[in-house]
Amino acid sequence: MTEMKSAEQKSFETKAPTEVWITGIGLATSLGEGLDAHWEALGQNRINVDEKGFAPCVVHPWAQVNLDAQIPKKGDQRQMEAWQRIGTYAAGLALESAGVKGNAEILARMDMVVAAGGGERDLAVDSNILNMEARGNSAPGSLNERLMNDLRPTLFLAQLSNLLAGNIAIVHGVTGSSRTFMGEEAAGVDAARIALARIAAGQSDIALIGGSQNGERKDLLVLYEFGGFNLKDKFAPVWARGEAGGFALGSGGAFLVIESKAHAEARGAKPFARLVNVVADMARRKHAGEVTSTLEKLWGKLGKIDSKAAIITGATGVEPVTSEERTFLKAHAQHPVRASGTIFGHTMEAQFPLGLALAALSLSRGALFPPDGTSATEVEMSERPSQIVVIGTGHWRGEGMALVEAI
């Protein structure tokens, strides 16, 4: 074992340039599961949105699946809250799509970078405690007593951010490494950025990346309501949400398997697309225009973008940042744009992995899915896209961009 050299050590000796492919995509969202279902739904402009269940907030509900298909043990399902189940399910689809599901040898050395939120609450326990306190029962220690008695012992594990990765390790056996990034949208960008950088530098051969969100969560809606970010009452495409703006929380998991071309070829894996570059920054957002100029700067760092490149953005619909992004997009109007946020809602940590998944899927199908049909920002693309630039701008912080290329 000590005789073996890691991929990194070998690479530093040979200095081999490493090309990285996307070889697996796992999608389980408000539009269903799997690539065919998604491609079909995208082609039909289908959107699954709920204006009533969480009124006045608009959310995109998760399309229920047969969880047993990817999480066979009921015990495992019970140990997770929805956001973890969604993510673990989507991760299984990605491994299956890459043809590595159950391949113990590869899974044991597969790296994992997960972008995660967490903290899903037990709403009944919280409400009960607050009602009790409102009725004047707030003796010292009464909070302790209720928490000790009412919290499910395993709820903590369903709340912990790193336990999405933990569950993926347990259910699917991915154990090369396990890293969880937090920090809303930026976490998704950085998960892709770091995993790509490691493979490109020879520090890793193959990685599972992605994230998930359950948008049907009132505790999450409360957090975003503090900042006034929730879209209210009526659904509209992200480009048509007016001055007030806002996002509709989305539900879904998006995972990808990325690996070095050499590794993929050696095992006979077919690529969906090439992941050329991922770049990120954090504009201070103290002055108008900072997001526009940061996106422009990132665009300049991506690499050569050809004329048949399209753009898939995770633009949230929140203002003023969506307008700032639109200013950037107008400066690149020759590239057709699609907003994943209109279709799937805002999936937060999963926003960027979802964008990457849609880009790789589109490139592999040789077409960009149709525009939303209502806004001037999105126009038809009849040509076959050669590249897709994925944009992930955070609703409050963080900007990221990726260049995905057809093979």
């Binding site: 919280d126 607050l130 009602n131 003796a139 790193n162 933990g166 991915v174 396990s178 990034f181 900042g227």
Partner: protein
């Protein structure tokens, strides 16, 4: 130029600045003095009522005021202090302009009880309180600050702004291995040539009622409340759980080449990092110890050394019956007979378990061990566990020749990370 590369041709990674805060105190000097004197920072909790709790002590950091208190605010303040100390020691960049990225290990951020209770008061007692009612009172700009505060990325965003780190700051959680993972991310970024320097910070200010209850419900905490100083008993036969604690650690990492070029003082080397995930169980290690064994071996092979070259192990040593047993199994499998001779001590016997911060706090202590050639003890070691025949450096610090330290971190969710820290390049 070969002297600035390791045997695999990668840039050698050095530490040029360190900062630490624990329940023992603020700063390296104070911590080191108390750590080597065998003092405990564990005390009875006074921050909130402990009625009805099984565990009433912790390694709280009460000497750094945060008003109004939230665990996230305390984490942020501790992170700020240690980063400041580390950057000042490194003398790198200029104020508010750190020339590299930030990697932050931080506990998952969430809205806490005081905020929830504030919403409850806003709803009032005339209405049934539920999340619909909470949603109704949350908007309108009254609680905008709660959004800013309780985003997962809020602590990293704040630190990135005040220290002027470059690019997208990364907030990470690998549970109790987070601090080590933050260092590993920094090491990898510099090895890839993305940066000449990285700021690696790990912080945790989690002692609040719900956090305590959560660990308590998993039967992970010591309930040895009296006296609190004797609660953390790693490797002892009568150990009964870990003690929650707060703290933070920071390292300024640089390539040897960049550090030398600017004439920086080199405090130590991060020679290797290893990790391996465990798929056995959400809170327990695989009974065969394979993931821990593999993690330790990965760190050795990443450093390009063999176990014989390690002369001190800074253990994860939480004091839970399970962890300490598994750590012995892992170490003894890799180190063989030497496992009984090599000093293995647990800082957690004194500072408690600083959770997300532990990997970095203990990396700082490991580097101080190298600097002072003195090994901090495992205190409260009165009843040895015959199943764990480590030389735990019982109760008293010991002078020793230390050239290479292994620092281990293991966490819930199957997280394992190990670091190899040395005085000189290996």
């Amino acid at each position: 130029m070969t002297a600035t590369r390791d045997k695999f041709g990668r840039p050698i990674i050095v530490v040029t600045g360190m900062g630490v805060v624990t329940s023992l105190g603020s700063g390296k000097a104070d911590n080191w003095k108390k750590l080597t004197a065998g003092e405990s920072g564990i005390r009875t909790i006074t921050r909130f009522p402990t009625d009805g709790l099984k565990t009433t002590m912790a390694g709280t950091v009460d000497f750094i005021p945060v008003e109004p208190f939230s665990s996230t605010d305390l984490s942020e303040r501790l992170g700020e202090l240690v980063a400041e100390e580390a950057i000042a020691q490194a003398g790198i960049g200029t104020k508010g302009d750190f020339p590299g990225p930030l990697f932050l290990a931080v506990a998952p951020v969430e809205v806490e009880w005081p905020q929830r209770q504030e919403l409850g008061r806003a709803i009032g007692s005339a209405t049934e309180i539920n999340y619909d009612a909470m949603l109704r009172v949350s908007g309108g700009g009254r609680y905008t600050e709660y959004h800013r505060r309780f985003l997962f990325g809020s602590v990293a965003g704040h630190l990135a702004e005040i220290f002027g780190t470059k690019g997208s700051p990364i907030s990470l959680s690998t549970a109790c291995a987070s601090g080590a993972s933050a260092i590993q991310l920094g090491v990898e970024a510099i090895r890839r040539g993305e940066a000449d320097a990285a700021l690696c910070v790990a912080t945790d200010g989690s002692v609040n009622p719900e956090a305590l209850v959560r660990f308590s419900l998993l039967s992970a905490l010591s309930t040895h409340n009296e006296p609190p100083q004797a609660a953390a008993r790693p490797f002892s036969k009568n150990r009964d759980g870990f003690v929650m604690a707060e703290g933070a650690g920071a390292l300024v990492l640089e390539s040897l080449e960049a550090a030398t070029a600017r004439g920086a003082t080199i405090l130590g080397i991060v020679a290797g990092c290893g990790e391996l995930a465990d798929s056995f169980h959400r809170t327990r290690s695989s009974p065969d110890g394979k993931p821990i064994i593999g993690c330790v071996r990965n760190a050795l092979s990443d450093a390009g050394i063999v176990s014989d070259q390690i002369d001190y192990i800074n253990a994860h040593g939480t004091g839970t019956p399970e962890n300490d047993k598994m750590e012995y199994l892992g170490i003894s499998t890799v180190f063989g007979e030497r496992a009984k001779q090599i000093p293995v001590s647990s800082n957690k016997s004194m500072v408690g378990h600083t959770l997300s911060a532990a990997g970095a706090v203990e990396a700082v202590f490991s580097l101080l061990t190298l600097e002072h050639q003195r090994i901090p003890p495992t205190i409260n070691y009165d009843i040895p566990d015959p199943a764990i025949p480590f030389d735990v450096v019982p109760n008293k610090a010991r002078d020793a020749r230390v050239t290479a330290v292994m620092s281990n971190s293991f966490g819930f969710g199957g997280q394992n990370a190990s670091l190899v820290l040395t005085r000189e390049p290996v």
